[in-house]
């Protein structure tokens, strides 16, 4: 019996010393590596982690599924469980929501989206632990799927208030300062309609938010960090972000001019970081490089790019590239969001050591909205592209040093919609138009990005209505929308001209009525890194009539010799031949498109 007692005791001691859980090598420091050769070959899928799939019901605290602005329960485990769904769709890169710990809730709205950072060093527990994040990324990599992290450096969540009336408490209402401080319009009316001030979100003041008492201004308003563990309005981490100097402290933007855009708090009381401060810059580099080192991420989607000065990006981006390269990760992709239709402004971040690419918002406005949804002239597409591809274009034409090896103007991230704008079908409830826009998305140059739910025909309006729970779709892989995206992704992957070919517009029209070519837009993809590969895309953006690539008896001139036979990949039964004069006239039904390749290049079964 003594022996038995000793044996059990030893077993107990051993078990309690070693632990029994199998962490599958997900613990500890792990090497990181390069998973991408050429980002133009990727198909990005943007998902909101909270809304994509719920795989772990243990982290479903404060979940209110029927409230669009509250947590819904999605997590990394859910993403992992749906990798089959994503792989079958043809997705090769996931863009996931910010992972860092957020302010939990504010004014009845939750930080489910991830853009309200409270602690840069901790994970948002709603989405899972580092183990589940690592495992999800590992399993994605095993399928050839890369993972891009959404990051925010412009601001943090609503972590402090301006003690405007110097009473040491956060007041909801401090009378009268808005119109007094705000500059007046020429007619004398205040530019800010605010007649009272919330100390968490006061109006922008170029001097910095000022304290104010009944006797008038009283100097800069001190900032006071909130301390409410329940809503996680807590002093931010790492500690540099608990210093006043880490913030610009000028209050909320009320006019999107250059100064306020750079230095103002983002609406909602999101505190603008003083990214000119070297300590802040270094801290931001450190925390985000660390997340890549921990999880082997493949890229950053950078929020609110234009709200941060160029000089920051010239420091941040090279530092990230350098540090990751030292650890063995190259081709790390950094693309930014500049929520603006100003092509020159958006492109300005792609020069001189800044980001590799940007989210192509000007195209969203000028093409997706204006042309595909509102039926404006396709000439707008050509004009926009010329600003990108032409001489002295708005976008960088040489790869960033140490970057992805592709010039920014050929690696823009294209999209039809995203989490910040209403879905395509919300603005134009026409599946044919959507499918046509998707054809455009998957055949133009750059990198296509599909917003989750597009493949299920979601049609939500503006934020947060456009952030539906994907699980209500049942993750159907048989739905026509899913099958269309899958097919387009497959075609893009199969024809190198579509990923690497240079772009040449062969037809664009400024006509939108009953003219023969109204709504027609056609472009070639060939040459360049695609070598001899060739593709011709012809789209009819008109929703009410068939159009063709001709006008006033002049047909579309293409770059291949006369007599070249084409097959429409989307309908292999359709073949056409280039006329002897090098022209091609193609009739395209309303809201549809054709994708021609040489008959000798056709890949069967796509």
């Amino acid at each position: 019996m003594k022996t038995k007692r000793f044996t059990l005791a030893a077993a107990l001691a051993a078990a309690s010393t070693a632990g029994c859980m199998d962490f599958q090598g997900l613990e500890g420091e792990r090497p990181i590596e390069t998973h991408v050769q050429d980002w133009r070959s990727e198909v990005v899928y943007q998902l909101m982690t909270d809304r994509f799939a719920n795989g772990d019901y243990a982290n479903d605290y404060r979940v209110v599924e029927n409230a669009p602005a509250r947590y819904h329960g999605g997590d990394y485990r859910g993403v992992e469980e749906k990798l089959d769904y994503l792989e079958n769709l043809g997705v090769t890169a996931l863009w996931i929501s910010p992972i860092v710990k957020n302010v939990e809730t504010d004014a009845g709205v939750d930080g489910y989206h991830g853009y309200w950072t409270q602690d840069f060093t901790q994970l948002n527990p709603h989405f899972g632990d580092l183990l589940s994040l690592r495992r999800m990324i590992d399993k994605a990599h095993a399928r050839g799927i890369k993972v891009i992290l959404d990051i925010v450096v412009n601001h943090v969540g609503q972590v402090f208030y301006y003690d405007i009336n110097l009473n040491g408490q956060a007041d909801e209402r401090v009378g009268g300062t808005g119109p007094l401080i705000a500059p007046k319009k020429p007619d004398g009316t205040p530019t800010s309609p605010v007649s009272h001030v919330n100390e968490y979100d006061p109006d922008y003041d170029p001097r910095g938010v000022q304290a104010w008492t009944s006797l008038g201004e009283a100097g800069p308003a001190p900032i006071v960090f909130a301390y409410d563990p329940e809503s996680n309005h807590m002093p931010p981490e790492p500690p540099i972000f608990q210093e006043a100097r880490a913030y610009n402290r000028r209050g909320r933007v009320w006019e999107w001019n250059a100064e306020q855009t750079l230095y103002g708090d983002f609406p909602g009381g999101l505190k603008d970081l003083n990214t000119e401060n070297p300590e802040v810059r270094q801290a931001l580099i450190d925390v985000f490089v660390r997340w890549v080192e921990l999880t082997d991420l493949d890229g950053f989607r950078i929020d609110t790019l234009k709200h941060v000065e160029h000089d920051f990006w010239k420091t941040f981006a090279p530092a990230v590239r350098q540090r990751l390269a030292q650890k063995g990760k190259n081709n790390f992709f950094m693309f930014g969001e500049s929520f603006d239709g100003d092509d020159k402004l958006v492109g300005s971040f792609t020069f001189g050591d800044e980001v590799d690419s940007v989210f192509y918002f000007p195209q969203y406005y000028s093409v997706i909205r204006d042309v595909f949804q509102e039926g404006k002239a396709t000439k707008q597409i050509e004009d926009l592209w010329n600003q990108r591809l032409g001489p002295n274009g708005n976008y960088g034409t040489t790869p960033q040093p140490g970057g992805i090896g592709v010039p920014p103007n050929k690696a823009l991230v294209n999209f039809l919609d995203n989490h910040d704008v209403g879905r395509f079908l919300f603005f134009k409830n026409d599946k044919a138009a959507l499918n046509n826009a998707l054809l455009f998305l998957f055949t133009e140059d750059g990198i296509p990005c599909v917003y989750y739910g597009t493949e299920q025909g979601f049609a939500g309006g503006n934020d947060p209505a456009n952030r539906e729970d994907l699980w209500w779709s049942g993750y159907s892989q048989a739905s026509p929308d899913y099958q269309w995206v899958r097919r387009l992704a497959n075609i893009r992957r199969s024809y190198k001209a579509l990923t690497h070919g240079e772009v040449k517009v062969t037809w664009a029209s400024d006509r939108t009525g009953s003219e023969s070519d109204a709504g027609i837009f056609a472009f070639e993809r060939s040459g360049g890194d695609a070598g001899d590969a060739y593709a011709l895309i012809v789209l009819n953006t008109k929703g009410d009539k068939e159009s063709s690539t001709q006008f006033n008896a002049a047909g579309m001139k293409v770059s291949v010799p006369g007599g070249t036979a084409f097959v429409n990949v989307l309908d292999p039964n359709e073949t056409v031949s280039v006329a002897g004069d090098g022209t091609l006239i193609v009739n395209v039904p309303a809201s549809s498109g054709k994708l021609f390749v040489r008959s000798s290049d056709v890949i069967a079964g796509l």
Binding site: M1, K4, R5, L8, A9, A11, L12, A13, A15, S16, T17, G19, C20, M21, F23, L26, E27, G28, E29, N54, G55, D56, Y57, A58, N59, D60, V64, E65, N66, A67, D75, R77, E81, T121, Q122, L123, G128, D129, L130, L131, S132, R135, L294
Partner: protein, 512 residues
């Protein structure tokens, strides 16, 4: 033969109850009363000693009988009644050596007793013997938790009614007893850990126990209900008063008590000249929770599916019958709802909102050896718990264990010194983001307890007055389990300098 078949039938009946289910994460068990050893109560020779000598069944306790006159045999008068008071209690006050309060530094669910806080049970008991071999007992046990009024100045107390039941014995067969009410229902413990590793149910219900002649074997079946005040089982919402009356009335949207049934079979093989023996126990539980619905938002409801679970376990013990020397080994495995304590509710569920897939496994050891003037008492357990959620990596998934050894030296009959060494560790299913390694909390503890024991020399002699000195070294992960600003999140070594008292007498709470 007939009795044996009946016992087997009972077991089959209880264990065939519907299915496995899942349940909630096992929150730390409620503070449980330490085992009480009624010093004056007659001991049944065949029972394993100690920690808690069982209630003597089918016998009239000596204190209940009339005064016997030597040399004269007289008839007993029936009915006869008695009223008794029993208690378990401990009062401890301690300093952390830095001017602060001494605190419990354990990381495992059931840590060592050495730094436990005050707790007491006051038991009031009425016994009636209606005729020979036919009796009844009414037990009321009030439990009191700290802090005490004399400590914090708050004129109140944490009170709970734990036992409140009636037991009747000898109806139909002198070995048969039945009971109903609220009852602590448990077997042998690991004294050093204040932990019942095999069976420890707190329900409102009833049970039957049948003991074979000689008291060496018994079967006990019980069924009870729990309804934790948690949205998993209970939800109340205000609704407009009926009949167009002003105001509101509370409506129970969800009210689904958990049904818990247990069966225990115990047998003792006599040894050591019938003073000691080998004790074997087979134990099982089934748990059932009906389906229901709850409101998630005003006017919105979701179905809450039913749940179930099952637990099987066993115990093997050896006791000498002398000097409280024994060793007990425990094992149990629970699935579904039975993986959780009867009053616990889950943190995470399966995708179907059930606890199917939850598991808990325990193995434990308790033992004592005394050879005046020396003794050594040991305790330990290993526990593994998994939530039913498909995600294996979460905070509530736990592997943990502890081993404690406490040698005593008796300094004469009324004093002694105990030295305690222990090691405990807990691994959770997450990474410590600071170290990038699994959270693996560990702590070592060394304690010294000189004590006075008027009842004599022995590990389980009570009452005792004692001084307590304990030093606990905790690793970084142990500290990481405490919130920012808690000194336990910073200090590597904890000290505990205390003075305390512990007693138990005449308590029935620890019978089977």
């Amino acid at each position: 033969m007939n009795r044996g078949a009946w016992i087997i039938g009972l077991a089959a009946f209880a264990l065939s109850r519907p299915g496995l289910a899942q349940d909630e994460p096992a929150p730390p068990p409620p503070a449980e009363p330490a085992p009480a050893e009624p010093a004056e109560a007659p001991k049944e020779p065949a029972e394993p000693p100690p920690a808690h000598p069982p209630m003597v069944r089918g016998k009239v306790p000596a204190f209940m009988g009339p005064v016997r006159v030597p040399g004269k045999k007289r008839e007993l008068d029936y009915p006869r009644s008695s009223f008794s008071f029993g208690s378990y209690g401990r009062v401890v006050v301690a300093s952390d050596g830095r001017g602060g309060e001494g605190r419990d530094a354990d990381v495992v669910a059931r840590g060592t007793r050495i730094d436990e806080g005050p707790y007491a049970e006051l038991e009031l008991r009425r016994d009636d013997e209606w005729k020979k071999d036919l009796s009844s007992r009414i037990v009321t046990t009030l439990a009191i938790g700290g802090p005490l009024f004399h400590y914090d100045g708050k004129f109140d107390a944490k009170l709970a009614v734990r036992n409140l039941y009636l037991e009747e014995r000898g109806i139909g067969d002198k070995g048969l007893s039945v009971w109903a009410g609220s009852r602590m229902y448990r077997g042998d413990d690991i004294y050093l850990l204040d932990f019942w590793p095999l069976d420890n149910l707190n329900t409102v219900g009833g049970g039957v126990r049948f003991e074979l002649e000689g008291g060496k074997s018994f079967a006990a079946w019980h069924v009870g209900l729990n309804r934790a005040d948690d949205p998993f089982q209970y939800q109340v919402r205000p609704r407009p008063a009926p009949q167009n009356q002003p105001g509101t009335t509370d409506v129970e949207i969800l009210n689904r008590p958990r049904l818990v049934s247990s069966l225990k079979l115990s047998h003792i093989v006599p040894m050591f000249g019938d003073k000691g023996g080998i004790k074997g126990v087979v134990y099982g539980e089934v748990h059932r929770l009906p389906s229901g619905e709850r409101e998630t938002q005003p006017g919105r409801y979701e179905d809450v599916p039913g749940d179930s679970g099952m637990l099987l376990g066993g115990q093997v013990g050896l006791f000498t019958g002398e000097h409280d020397t024994f060793v007990n080994l425990f094992f149990r495995h629970g699935r579904g709802l039975a993986a959780y304590g009867e009053l616990a509710t889950p943190q995470g569920t399966s995708p179907e909102r059930t606890v199917e897939g939850a598991t808990e496994t325990r193995i434990g050891i308790a033992g004592n050896f005394e050879h005046n003037p020396f003794a050594v008492v040991v305790g330990g357990y290993f526990r593994s718990f998994r939530e039913p959620t498909p995600e294996e990596y979460n905070f509530n998934n736990v592997d943990e264990g502890i081993f404690v050894v406490r040698p005593h030296v008796f300094l004469g009959d009324h004093a002694g010194v105990a030295v305690e060494g222990s090691y405990q560790a807990q691994q959770r299913g997450i990474l410590n983001i600071a170290t990038n390694q699994p959270v693996h909390a560990k702590l070592w503890r060394f304690g010294l307890m000189p004590y006075l024991s008027p009842a004599g020399a022995g590990v389980f002699k009570r009452p005792v007055l004692r001084l307590i000195m304990a030093f606990t070294q905790r690793n970084e992960d142990a500290r990481s389990l405490y919130a920012h600003d808690d000194v336990f999140a910073r200090r590597k070594v904890e000290q505990f300098y205390g003075i305390g008292a512990e007693w138990w007498f005449n308590s029935s709470s620890y019978g089977e």
